[in-house]
């Protein structure tokens, strides 16, 4: 958990962000009014169904949405008070890779196979910090040391293919933190890695966070990783935030049926096979974003949905009786439903 002082002005404030893609089948509303704030030094874990807009909303913040087919149809992204969405490309480029570092899973932003690792780490140091060639190279070596690439000095002039998958992701992290960013965005950064390598990368990022004091947005589908590193958790579905709140409250007192479904569907690593029943599955499939359902996007899969859920999308508001800052978008009252279920089971 963060022991950073809590500042009044958030580091990042996303206001009603909306992104659409024009496709043959019509407009895909990939991000549908996403609003949240991030404090300095805070770690926000974002989980959610694939296609729920997790990647698109951070790409939009960084000005990396391909246009066309993408369109930012509304909203603001205030980073240290400046709206990134209206920033000229030149100024945005200084933020991206400088004050905001990022590590992605997808190849779009991953390493250039034709450039040595040194060249790729040195580039942001020269662009953003204005270091000269020698200083940048020295810093590059320190960074490889920091992300624990053995024999860093000897490996600077190697090409990405000479590194293992885990090491390449470490190099990406080195580039992501090269300029001591205020914010590091990691989008499925460990998804493709072995669980042992993931554990090392997560530990490394935690350590770097303590050292640099950066805020983190960590996007993953692994609820275990999210549980360990987040201050705040945000659950997304169909381009919206369904639930958001302090990590302990989200896991102990989920208010969205989707969050509850995700938590319940995970088998327990410590539980033996004897007497185990079927897994509690979430029925149905995620919506086709070309024709999203009206109302609450999760309603078609939600056994607890009320008629209102199917016609009117609920706003994201403070959950009644939950910890302050624990928000949910739901017309139904999950604790009341669960209490009734428990009553009936008795």
């Amino acid at each position: 958990m963060s022991d950073m002082p809590r500042l009044e002005t958030p580091l990042l404030e996303v206001r009603d962000l909306a992104v659409a893609f024009d496709t043959d089948g019509g407009a895909v509303h990939a991000v549908n009014g996403v609003s949240y704030a991030l404090r300095e030094g805070e770690t926000l874990g974002i989980v959610g169904e694939s296609g729920s807009g997790k990647s698109v909303h951070v790409l939009a913040m960084l000005g990396l949405i391909p246009r066309p087919p993408g369109r930012i149809t509304g909203g603001q992204v205030l980073f240290r008070g400046r709206d990134l969405l209206t920033l000229p490309e030149k100024a945005l480029r200084k933020v991206r890779g400088g004050e905001i570092g990022f590590v992605f899973q997808d190849p779009m932003s991953s390493l250039n196979p034709g450039m040595t690792v040194a060249a790729q780490i040195v580039e942001p140091l020269r662009i953003h910090l204005g270091l000269d060639a020698r200083a940048a190279r020295r810093r590059a070596r320190e960074l490889l040391d920091l992300v624990r690439i053995p024999n860093a000095a000897g490996r600077l002039d190697q090409y990405p293919h000479e590194f293992s998958g885990g090491q390449r992701q470490r190099v990406m992290i080195a580039i992501g933190i090269a300029c001591r960013p205020k914010l590091l965005i990691a989008d499925e950064a460990t998804t493709a890695l072995d669980v042992t390598v993931q554990a090392e990368i997560v530990a490394l990022v935690q350590e770097l966070k303590r050292e640099i004091g950066m805020a983190i947005i960590w996007i993953t589908h692994d609820l275990g990783v999210v549980a360990g590193i987040s201050d705040t958790v945000q659950v997304m579905y169909a381009g919206r935030i369904l639930e958001r709140g302090p990590v302990d409250d989200i896991f102990a007192d989920p208010r969205s049926a989707y969050t509850l479904g995700l938590l319940r569907s995970l088998p327990d690593l410590t539980r033996g096979r004897a007497g185990r029943g079927r897994l509690r599955q979430i029925e149905g499939a995620p919506p086709d974003m070309r024709a999203p359902p009206p109302g609450d996007p999760f309603a078609p899969r939600n056994a607890y949905a009320t008629p209102r859920c199917r016609t009117e999308a609920p706003p994201l508001v403070q959950a009644a009786g939950a910890a302050p800052g624990h928000l949910v978008a739901a017309w139904y009252d999950l604790p009341a439903i669960l209490a009734r279920e428990a009553e009936e089971a008795r």
């Binding site: 958990m1 390598v197 993931q198 997560v202 935690q206 360990g228 410590t270 897994l279």
Partner: protein, 304 residues
């Protein structure tokens, strides 16, 4: 449910070597992707196969089904050595051994309706079946895997990832196999869909008496689904046991590291796990040794 005790699949001393081409003209050597692996899978049993990427899991899966036969060792299916079968007999055997892969979209043909894709299994292996009979069988299979039969005329892109995996499972069970290799069958699916597919696999096992080789890096799901688990490390099995024994009492250092690295979806417990891990950096794992039975049915590579 306890699995019966006779093996349906018996793998003995299986090795798979890939040639390493030496472009500098030196001595050609081989890469030992899998080395001297032995295990049985009993009727109605699920054997889990776990290990880091590149450890040889898929290679074993393809060797066991003879999609990519082993360099050495034997694979016996219901007592018959597969390497000794005539091509004709092997064709018949193929119907009884099926594979489900990680990426259902790659397995499907984008230009073939999903009904035709499932029906193809009958066309290839049951020439005696007529059109109407095939169509009825496909409808039954669709229902069995939780898809509406009226979707049979649709094409792969019209389905979600979980539905596509159901289609692949429908084809895999079409010919009433007794053994299915499932190679990372849920890895590409959303968390919200994984439980659906695992439940389906488990229901089909109970109904059809299927045996599975379940290859996965999802260690939580492996414990839940598998009767026994084999841990692969650098092409060798380093530990094999009943899954409860393996998870509750892992003996090999690699198994311990692997299980210790699984994040726990409970904030307080996971923060404690991270802190403990930070305090105790991983030590190197020694290679070599022999598989020794340290407790009934619990095998561990031990250095003498």
């Amino acid at each position: 449910m306890r699995a019966p005790d006779y093996p349906i699949v018996s793998v003995r001393n299986l090795s798979k070597h890939y040639p390493l081409r030496s472009w500098w003209g030196g001595k050609a050597s081989v890469f030992r992707a899998v080395e001297d692996v032995s295990f049985d899978i009993r009727a109605g049993e699920t054997l889990g196969l776990v290990g880091e990427s590149g450890s040889g899991k898929s290679t074993i899966g393809r060797a066991v089904t003879m999609l990519n036969p082993p360099t050495a060792g034997t694979v016996a299916f219901e007592g018959t050595d597969l390497a000794k079968l005539s091509p004709r007999a092997m064709r018949g055997m193929r119907a009884r051994i099926q594979t489900v892969f990680q990426d259902p979209y790659a397995a499907l043909n984008p230009r073939m309706s999903v009904g035709d894709y499932v029906s193809e299994a009958f066309k290839l292996h049951r020439p005696e079946m007529g059109r109407a009979e095939r169509r009825a069988a496909v409808a039954g299979l669709f229902e069995r895997v939780g898809l509406e039969p009226r979707f049979a005329g649709r094409f792969p892109h019209q389905f979600s990832g979980g539905q596509r995996q159901r289609i692949c499972i429908a084809r895999a069970i079409a010919l009433k196999p007794s053994f299915i290799v499932a190679d990372e069958p849920i890895a590409a699916l959303d968390v919200s869909i994984q439980a659906q597919v695992v439940n389906l696999l488990q229901d089909l096992q109970a109904e059809l008496g299927l045996s599975y080789l379940f290859i996965s890096h999802d260690l939580r799901m492996v414990r839940y689904l598998c009767h026994r688990v084999a841990v692969l490390w650098r092409g060798r099995i380093v530990e094999l046991a009943e899954s409860d024994a393996l998870y509750d009492d892992p003996r090999h250092p690699y198994t311990q590291r692997l299980l210790g690295a699984v994040p726990v979806p409970d904030p307080a417990a996971e923060r404690a796990r991270l802190a403990a891990e930070q305090a105790r950096p991983a030590s190197p794992i020694a290679e070599g040794g022999d598989l020794v039975e340290v407790a009934p049915g619990h095998w561990v590579v031990t250095r003498s």
